[in-house]
Structures are given as structure tokens and as C-alpha cells.
Amino acid sequence: MLKTLRTIAGVGIVSESPPEPDDELRLRDALQAQIQSVLGRALAIRAVDSGSCNGCELEIHALNNPIYNIEGLGIRFVASPRHADLLLVTGPVSWNMAAALKRTYEAMPDPKLVVAVGDCGCDGGVFGRSYACAGPVSAILPVDVAVPGCPPSPQRLLQAILTAIRPRRA
């Protein structure tokens, strides 16, 4: 126990401030305020792997580490689509996952947002469209934001999520 406490004290707080906003996205530092003003509470995300190579998942996991500290920004991953505001979808959609992906989306309450992750989520990536892959997430679901990268960095993922929740300007 003592060792545990010493490690906690020794390491201190490692959470960084939120990533530098992309000017275009005009996120500034008010990420949390944005979530609060749009939703009035924490943003709930359901992640679904619809055919990923598991590379994108590594970077999604990183969002939860104490350095990106996504919970501190008022974003959390939830276990059920029924509690989710946003669906984060990785992979080219494999035909074997298409039905499960659709079902997950349908189980979410309205209004719902979809962020397609990675080159695969954007256009099928190296796997393309085939007898086994429907290709991009948009082939199966309406997509709000698609973030390229193979895999996209945690910063890019955060920007994509925040872009999706930000009310679209006219």
C-alpha cells in the first residue's frame, strides 16, 4: 500500500491540457464547456469495432490514459448503446458485422451522432470494398464526421469527437 501511495505521489498529475485546437475547428480550450452547453452533461460514447485491424482501438484506448484524460473533459465510454450520444466506429465494415453495427445504432436514443474512425472507417482503407467488406462506415450508417489516419492519433480522435458534437455553423 505504501509503495502504491509513494508511486501515486511520485508520479503526480500527468494529465495534459486538452490538445491544441485545430484553428479551423475553433475548439480552443473550452472543450468541456462546449460539451456542457450542448448536452448539459457528460458526453457518452459507445465504441464499436466493425472490422478494424485493432490498430485504431490502440489509439482509442490511449484517450483513456491519464495524459489525454478524456474523462476530465467530460467524455466517457459507456457499455450500452442505450446510454450513448455518439457512436465511434472503427474498421471497414465487414459484412459479418454489418447487422450487429446497424442494431447497435438503432438501439441508441435520438439524437445520435456517428464518427467513423481511421482510413478504413473513411473509405475502407487497405481492405477496400469486397465480398467481405462493405467498405466505409457510411455504406451502412449516416456518418457525421470521419477522421482519417491509420491509425489516427489520439489528438485527431478528440478533434473528431468534438467536431461532431459542435453544432454545425450555417
Partner: protein, 512 residues
């Protein structure tokens, strides 16, 4: 002894050093398998290939790891309707590989279990993606898979997946339980089948490494290296020493990244959130250092035909060495904390145990195998350059439980940090890549690399210049998934996530 005659009859195999290709007659196929088993060898992979308008119409190949070498037995199938002799009695892991081969190529074994494995509802039973033309995709649909039922008083079923609660890959688990206790688990995989092997045949030979790296993105270096090892063997390419050293560095970094992630997640699953926070921080620090020095946070595009696409300046090499030294000492501290924590110890010890005898019989392989007394690691058993110079140490435990799989990871993180630093301190100068000749001297090459989960295999075949006729990628998860069904028996359902995580097998690498 009996094996000597097979080795001496085999031809040299391009790719992995100490590999042999053995053409067998149908009556010898089982004999080779039997002799390999008697010598304590293991089936690494089994796959089939169609040759339209040729004779024989198909070949089935079985790759064995035995005597520190790779023996590939090759069986001709003259008539595609003919059923070849299945190997599932000698090697239980063969059962699913044979079912997958049947789904993809239509070449059937004589095993009794005729259920599809990778094929769900997307294409019809009489269509085979690896025999042209490809099937037409169907609309999203769900099929009805024939799970094996367990009857009995008080037995009920729990179905989990394919979509899981966490941020993990999809698969379906069907538990038969009494109260909380698991009587039986049946896995159903194939959800992330992406048609990878068909896709390979549409790519130029010199481009396949990018797809190989994405067979299972957490093992990108291992797969890309295996692909390149096969290709370089086929084309007679001599990879420059600096490139080999950098490949090994990347492979060890990949191992450390994955082990750090798993050690944190396992602590968390045992109710110790502190572990997740600490390990995920260490992993992020290392990942950033890799990104800053090698230019990629995850090394999906590091290994290329003929060499590498990354380089390190002296200063960057020193920086990376410092981060590795720090990682290693922090992990040692955390190891002591995990060992001291009564709650963690309690959850880890005895959970999901696979005794060495069972592990041997089922063919448990790689990291999980080493936690159950199976002392095999290709970096140690048959070191390829540069592992022959830096001599990795075997990390092994015999208890076969979650605690043992955690302990092997702790030991391997330290060992890989040591190896990576040794590689950094002796990084040879010279070119980063050699040109790869367009002409293929050997039509078949097989690469095998010990990734963080275990040995990955890539069998590459080219019959026309610059083209891929067939590329088979094999993940050690094929061997280990069926063992989880045994590991959870008698455990309680709430322990499944912990047990499953302690193996951390690949879905993508398995589903292809």
C-alpha cells in the same frame, strides 16, 4: 529419428532460415504429422491453395515447428471434391484451420465437424472466395450457427457478443452455466472477416507488406517482417544489417507497447485501477518517444521489402534508450506492487489455469504457451539475424493461470527493454534497404516471426512476375482460442473478462 528422413527429403524453403518444403503423397501426409507429434513438434499453420486449370487442382500445406526448424508438408489434391485426411486428432487446433480452408477454397477435410467457420451469411456455402470469381456480397444478415447444446438440470445459456461492452474486438461467446459456474464455453468467431487473403491476390507483390501489417494492427511489425522475410527469400534479397537491427528494435518496441497495455488492463480487470493508470501512462510515454524518434506512434509502416522505412539519428537512439531504461525500472516497481497487492494476487492466482500437459496436447503457443511450461520462443530456439547476436532469454512459467501469464509479460517487458537497448547501442551503419529484384527465384516463400503473442507466419506464393497468387497469414490466436474454452471451465462467469484478457488473442488476425 523418424523425422530425419522427412527432413532429408525436403527441399530448401525460401524465407525462414532452417525451413524445408516436403512434397508428400496422400499416404504419407498423416505419417509426417505423426512423426512430428512424436518428436514434440507442433502444427503452426494449415492452409489450402487452388490452382485453376492446373494439375493438381489444389494443394494443402501444413507447417510444423519441430527440431528448431520449420517443416512444410505439401499435399496434392487432384480432385477438389476429394476429402483430404484431417489432422485434428493429432493437433486439435487443426480443426478450425481446416474449416476455414473449406470456407475459403472449397477444399474439404474428412473431419466430422462440417460447420462453416469464417463464413457467416455474407456468401453462399457453394461459393469460395479464394477460387475465382469472388462471391457477390449479400445484404447484412445474421445466420443461424449450430452451437453445441449442454443439457442438464439447472443448466442455462448466456450469449455474449459479437459487440462487447468495452473497447475490444468483436466475437461471440456462448456459455453454458450452472449458477455462476461455467460448464462449457463455445466461441464463434469470424465477425471481422475482411477478405484479407483475397485482397492480397489483388495487390502487387511489392505492396503486400502494407496489408500484412494490418492483418492484426497490434502485431504490425511481426506480420510485415514475416511477409518481407518470405518475399526476400523468394527474390534472393540480402537485407542490410542496419535494416535488420532496426526491424528487431521495432519488434521489441511493439512487444513492450502491447505488454504495457495488457498489464494495465489486467490490473484494472482485477479491480486495481491504479495499475491501469500507471501502465497506460508508461505506455503513452514510450509510444510518444517512438513517435518522436521513429516517426510513427505505432509501427504500422516501419518494415518494407528489402529493409525499413524508419531511421534513427544518434541523438534519437540515445533518447529512446533512456526512455526504455526508465520504462524498465518503473515496470520493476510496478511488478513489486502487483505482487504485494493481496486483492490482485487473489484474482490472478489460479484463474483460467491451463496445466502444461493440457497446453502441450492442445498446442498452446507463444506467450500463453510459455506461461504453461511450453518453452518455445523462435527468437531463442532458432534465432534469425540479429537475434543470433543479442541472445534473448526465454521467459517461462509453469502455473498456467492468469498470474503466470502476467508474470511472463513482466519478465518479457524487462527482457525486451534490454534487447532494444542492446540493439540501439550496437546499431550498425549502412543502408536502410536493399533493392528487391523483380524476378522471383522461388515461387513459394514462408516467413515466421515471433510476435508478442507468439509466432506469426506468412506464406507467400507468386506465379506471375510481380503478382501474388496466394498469401496466407497465420496468427498464433488460431492455436490459443480453442484453449480458452478449456481455461474457463469450472471458473465463474465474472472471471471470464480477466481470463480472456490474460490471453488477449487477436480477432482480426484470426478472422482474416
Amino acid at each position: 529419428m523418424a523425422l530425419t528422413r522427412w527432413w532429408s527429403r525436403g527441399e530448401r524453403l525460401a524465407g525462414k532460415p532452417s525451413g524445408a518444403l516436403l512434397a508428400v503423397e496422400p499416404q504419407e501426409w498423416l505419417g509426417v504429422a505423426t512423426d512430428v507429434a512424436a518428436a514434440g513438434g507442433q502444427l503452426l499453420a494449415l492452409w489450402a491453395t487452388r490452382y485453376p486449370d492446373c494439375s493438381p487442382a489444389a494443394l494443402v500445406r501444413a507447417a510444423y515447428l519441430v527440431d528448431g526448424g520449420l517443416l512444410v508438408a505439401q499435399l496434392p489434391v487432384a480432385d477438389p471434391a476429394h476429402r483430404y485426411r484431417g489432422l485434428q486428432e493429432l493437433y486439435p487446433a487443426a480443426a478450425r484451420m481446416q474449416r476455414a480452408a473449406a470456407d475459403l477454397t472449397g477444399i474439404l477435410s474428412d473431419a466430422a465437424d462440417r460447420r462453416p467457420w469464417l463464413r457467416h451469411a455474407a456468401w453462399a456455402p457453394d461459393q469460395h472466395p479464394l477460387s475465382a470469381p469472388p462471391p457477390i456480397p449479400a445484404a447484412p444478415a445474421v445466420d443461424d450457427y449450430a452451437f453445441v447444446r449442454v443439457e442438464g438440470e439447472g443448466v442455462h445459456e448466456i450469449a455474449v457478443g459479437p459487440v462487447h461492452a468495452g473497447i475490444i474486438e468483436p466475437g461471440h461467446f456462448r456459455f453454458s452455466v450452472v449458477g455462476e459456474k461455467v460448464l462449457k464455453l463455445e466461441e464463434r468467431l469470424g465477425y471481422v472477416h475482411k477478405g484479407i487473403e483475397r485482397r492480397f491476390t489483388e495487390l502487387p507483390l511489392l505492396d503486400g507488406h502494407r496489408l500484412a501489417a494490418r492483418v492484426s494492427g497490434d502485431s504490425a511489425v511481426a506480420y510485415a517482417w514475416a511477409y518481407c522475410q518470405a518475399l526476400e527469400g523468394m527474390t534472393g534479397t540480402a537485407v542490410p544489417p542496419r535494416a535488420l537491427w532496426l526491424r528487431a528494435l521495432c519488434l521489441e518496441l511493439e512487444r513492450v507497447q502491447n505488454h504495457l497495455g495488457d498489464l494495465g488492463a489486467l490490473g484494472n480487470d482485477a479491480g486495481f485501477a491504479f495499475g491501469l493508470a500507471q501502465f497506460s501512462r508508461l505506455k503513452e510515454e514510450l509510444t510518444r518517444a517512438i513517435g518522436a524518434t521513429l516517426g510513427q506512434r505505432y509501427l504500422l509502416d516501419a518494415v518494407v521489402p528489402g529493409g525499413v522505412a524508419v531511421d534513427l539519428q544518434d541523438q534519437a537512439a540515445r533518447t529512446l534508450a533512456v526512455v526504455l531504461a526508465r520504462t524498465s525500472s518503473r515496470v520493476r516497481e510496478l511488478h513489486a506492487i502487483y505482487d504485494d497487492h493481496a486483492g490482485v494476487r487473489d484474482r490472478f492466482a489460479g484463474a483460467g489455469r491451463v496445466e502444461p500437459e493440457l497446453a502441450q496436447r492442445l498446442g498452446l503457443i507463444g506467450l500463453a504457451g510459455r506461461a504453461s511450461g511450453q518453452g518455445s520462443d523462435l527468437r531463442v530456439d532458432s534465432p534469425w539475424p540479429p537475434y543470433h547476436v543479442i541472445t534473448p532469454k526465454l521467459c517461462m512459467r509453469r502455473d498456467g493461470d492468469v498470474a503466470a501469464r502476467v508474470a511472463v509479460r513482466f519478465d518479457e517487458v524487462e527482457e525486451s527493454c534490454r534487447l532494444a537497448r542492446a540493439l540501439l547501442s550496437e546499431l550498425p551503419g549502412g543502408a536502410l534497404a536493399a533493392p528487391v529484384p523483380a524476378a522471383v527465384a522461388a515461387p513459394l516463400g514462408v516467413g515466421v516471426i515471433e510476435g508478442w503473442r507468439g509466432p506469426v507466419l506468412v506464406a507467400l506464393e507468386s506465379r506471375e512476375p510481380g503478382r501474388i497468387h496466394r498469401c496466407h497469414a497465420h496468427d498464433p490466436s488460431w492455436q490459443n482460442w480453442p484453449v480458452i474454452e478449456h481455461a474457463v471451465m469450472g471458473n465463474i462467469v465474472p472471471d471470464f473478462p480477466l481470463i480472456n484478457k490474460s490471453f488477449n488473442l487477436s480477432y482480426s488476425g484470426h478472422d482474416l
